[in-house]
């Protein structure tokens, strides 16, 4: 893929086909620890969700020669890979890990790739042994520090005891040398590890995501577990019994993990650390927010929000608190994954790990319309406040019906969001625009040529690629222009926005830049409808 990139904010003037182009300017995306606020949220903050543990930052790439290809890399090589650094560089030397032990371990793990090697149970044909299972694009495994299976995205954990055991052995082997395994590459598979105090999360993928992107996905998965249990519970349980079978406490919660992983495969929001807002006239939206403020003046109510079809309609928050996009995604996932809220008003505990990983908030969840599209969530710290909130909910519903706001929401849901044609820019096929201050993004409907599932997956892969190239922390870019065989990609990151645009393959660079500028003007014009600039406070 030929690439031309330039770090300036405006028209690129020079070209470079080098892959290891070094960014001369200081990176736009900084690694500073920032406060958990909407105004300051940035991507790096999400990549390192180290609020509860801070692994010492070695990143090792363990390259193992795939038995099927003619790669001439050393059999087991460990090297530091600076471009996946998390900003905690250390000057210590990395020692080569090339012991017999680790290659044995790798052989075990490689069973994942080689159908002819069968796992344990000879008697029945396990799903784990099937070609289908092995060819899954993205496996996710969760195990306890003791190596006990907790979750697998595909198949049955019980059949994966060996594989999980090996994974935990790998992790503790590297830990023994006061180090941390981050990822390994084996053939075209990446093994990415997220090691937390009590849990080990492993993703085995041969998809388009980069290791850091997978790491981000894993931290979402980890937070989903905290959301169900809280960190305190997790901690207490494993302190009491290292060997505890966590699945007991997760019965019924697997679907949240499944759903989250499926959403991450198709929705760019989590990658971007941004949510999508339901397009609405800004006055209507204000009206909805004010209705909530006026009718839910309740002590201890921290957040009130309305979701419709995974999009944010409005969010009202207590003055001193912010809802982190990661927490918001977990809330969206909760609503998206459960049918049970449609039957009745629900009262359920939920932990928002970015808000407070040690305890639960109590959520009053109900749909406001008969078709169960518009969902109201009232999140309080008071476990006793169900009836008060239930009354608030009735008043809010009544007012929203009266003001035709519920109708406005359902009208907006009926219309497909918007067509790329509406932006009036030829050659532009699709784009993602993220407002960094608001942690919100917008994108047009998927249209031809991205209608089939495989094409959509490919488009997703393009965005993963573009996003990865721009955010590679060793050399973050401001602008990246890439000409591929089927499309031309342009990514542009500034203080205030991130833009990822996909053009037809024949667009010229000048035309693409012009198109982008035009698109930015269009977004600016539509901003009021597509974004929520300020969240109202109680």
């Amino acid at each position: 893929m030929a690439e031309r990139k330039k770090e300036a904010d405006h028209l690129p003037t020079s070209e470079s086909d080098q892959d290891d182009f070094i960014e001369p300017d200081p990176p736009v995306v900084t690694n500073q620890a920032v406060a958990d606020t909407f105004v300051n949220i940035d991507y790096e903050d999400l990549v390192n969700p180290d609020y509860d543990s801070h692994p010492s930052g070695y990143i090792h790439e363990i390259v193992r020669q795939g038995s099927h290809d003619d790669d001439d890399e050393p059999r087991v090589a460990v090297s530091s890979v600076s471009d996946v650094s998390t900003g905690e560089e250390s000057s210590e030397d990395h020692t080569e890990i090339s012991t017999k032990e680790i290659s044995q371990a790798l052989d075990e793990v490689s069973k994942l790739q080689h159908p002819e090697v069968s796992l344990e149970d000879e008697e029945e044909i396990d799903e784990v042994d099937t070609q289908e299972w092995r060819q899954r694009k993205k496996h996710v495994f969760i195990l306890s520090q003791a190596g006990k299976p907790v979750y697998t995205r595909f198949g049955n954990e019980d059949k994966l005891v060996t594989v999980m055991g090996v994974m935990s052995a790998l992790v503790s082997f590297v830990q023994d040398s006061k180090d941390l395994v981050r990822f390994m590459v084996a053939g075209d598979h990446k093994f990415v590890f997220l090691v937390r105090e009590h849990l080990i999360l492993v993703c085995v993928s041969h998809g388009a995501e980069s290791s850091q992107q997978i790491l981000l996905h894993l931290s979402y998965v980890y937070n989903q577990i905290l959301s169900v249990l809280t960190f305190s519970t997790l901690h207490r349980i494993f302190k009491q019994r290292r060997n505890y079978d966590l699945r007991r406490l997760l019965t019924g919660a697997e679907k949240f993990l499944d759903n989250l992983l499926n959403m991450m495969d198709t929705e760019p929001g989590m990658l971007l650390g941004a949510v999508r807002c339901l397009p609405l006239d800004s006055q209507v939206r204000d009206n909805i927010a004010q209705t909530i403020v006026q009718n839910a003046k309740v002590k201890d109510l921290v957040f009130a929000l309305i979701l419709a079809n995974n999009q944010l309609v409005t969010l009202v928050r207590m003055k001193k608190y912010f809802l982190h996009p990661m927490d918001l995604h977990l809330i969206i996932n909760l609503v998206n994954a459960s049918e049970s809220f449609k039957a009745a008003e629900s009262w359920t505990p939920i932990c928002l790990p970015k808000f407070d990983s040690s305890g639960f908030l109590q959520a009053h969840i109900s749909y406001l319309d008969d078709r169960c599209e518009t969902c109201l969530l009232l999140l309080s710290v008071d476990r006793e406040s169900f009836f008060i909130l239930s009354e608030c909910r009735n008043k809010i519903k009544e007012r929203l019906v009266k003001y035709n706001a519920l109708k406005a929401i359902s009208d907006s849901l009926m219309k497909t969001s918007y067509s790329i044609q509406q932006c009036g820019i030829s050659d532009l096929r699709h784009f993602l625009y993220k407002s960094r201050h608001m942690a919100q993004f917008t994108s047009p409907e998927l249209e031809a040529p991205y209608l089939s599932e495989t094409e959509q997956e490919r488009l997703c892969g393009l965005y993963f690629y573009l996003h990865h190239r721009i955010h590679t922390s060793a050399r973050p870019l401001k602008i990246l222009y890439t000409v591929g065989p089927h499309e031309t990609l342009l990514g542009w990151v500034t203080q205030s926005f991130e833009l990822y645009a996909v053009f037809g393959p024949l667009v010229t660079k000048v035309a693409a830049i012009q198109a982008i500028n035009k698109l930015l003007r269009w977004v600016k014009r539509e901003e009021d409808r597509l974004f929520i600039p300020n969240h109202v406070t109680f």
Binding site: L250, A253, L334, S338, E339, E384, F387
Partner: protein, 213 residues
């Protein structure tokens, strides 16, 4: 807060039991008169039911173990508890004793506890009954030592099928007749008082719509 609860409802009924025993199906059969496969409950769901002049609050809780510690709110001041188990699963019966009875410490002192075996219809097919009627009846008497059960029309144990609709309304009416009995005039409005009668046609009791949706 307690005042809130009281103002809102005249009786609080809580349904407890292991996950997947059929609690939600049971409530929905009573409230909606239908049987649809339900997703596992998240936290707890609240239903309001009119019984004559009375407001009845029904809390359908999630059976998953991780919610056990949080059930206090749902149990507090409950006037009646439905203790549900799956008749084809011993462990779900054992859970009642081990996990759920202790939660009822915060219920009203005269809380009536009705033990309900679920999925009776499965016994017709190939599944075997794991808990005998005697066993369950004995258990239901033991846990109600706080009230005088001799005044009850029968032992507080029922075997039900939400799928077929058998014995579902009866459980609720048994409870209501005990906790908030209606006068004759009120009864005519509210419908039949139910004594167990398996020969009775399926009662699709929904006179009131669910509160939301």
């Amino acid at each position: 807060m307690m005042a809130e609860t009281k103002r809102k409802a005249d009786l609080k009924v809580i349904i407890l039991g292991d996950y997947n025993v059929g609690k939600t199906s049971f409530v929905c059969r009573y409230i909606d008169g239908t049987f649809q496969t339900k997703e596992p409950t998240i936290g707890a769901a609240f239903f309001l039911k009119q019984w004559g002049p009375y407001n009845i609050a029904v809390w359908d809780t999630a059976g998953d173990e991780r919610y056990t510690g949080l059930s206090n709110f749902y149990c507090r001041n409950a006037g009646a508890a439905i203790l549900a188990f799956d008749m084809t699963s011993v462990s779900s019966f054992e859970s009642l004793w081990a996990r759920f009875i202790p939660l009822l410490d915060s219920a009203l002192e005269n809380c009536i506890k009705v033990v309900v075996g679920m999925k009776l219809d499965l016994l017709d097919s190939d599944r075997t009954r794991e808990i005998t009627i005697e066993e369950a009846t004995k258990f239901s008497r033991e846990i109600n030592s706080n009230i005088d059960i001799s005044h009850l029309p029968k032992d507080p144990y029922f075997e039900t099928s939400s799928l077929k609709g058998s014995n579902v309304t009866e459980v609720f009416e048994y409870i209501f007749n005990h906790c908030v009995p209606l006068t004759d005039a009120e009864k005519r409005v509210a419908g039949n008082t139910g004594i167990v009668d398996l020969s009775k046609p399926v009662n699709d009791g929904a006179k009131d719509k669910k509160k939301c949706c």
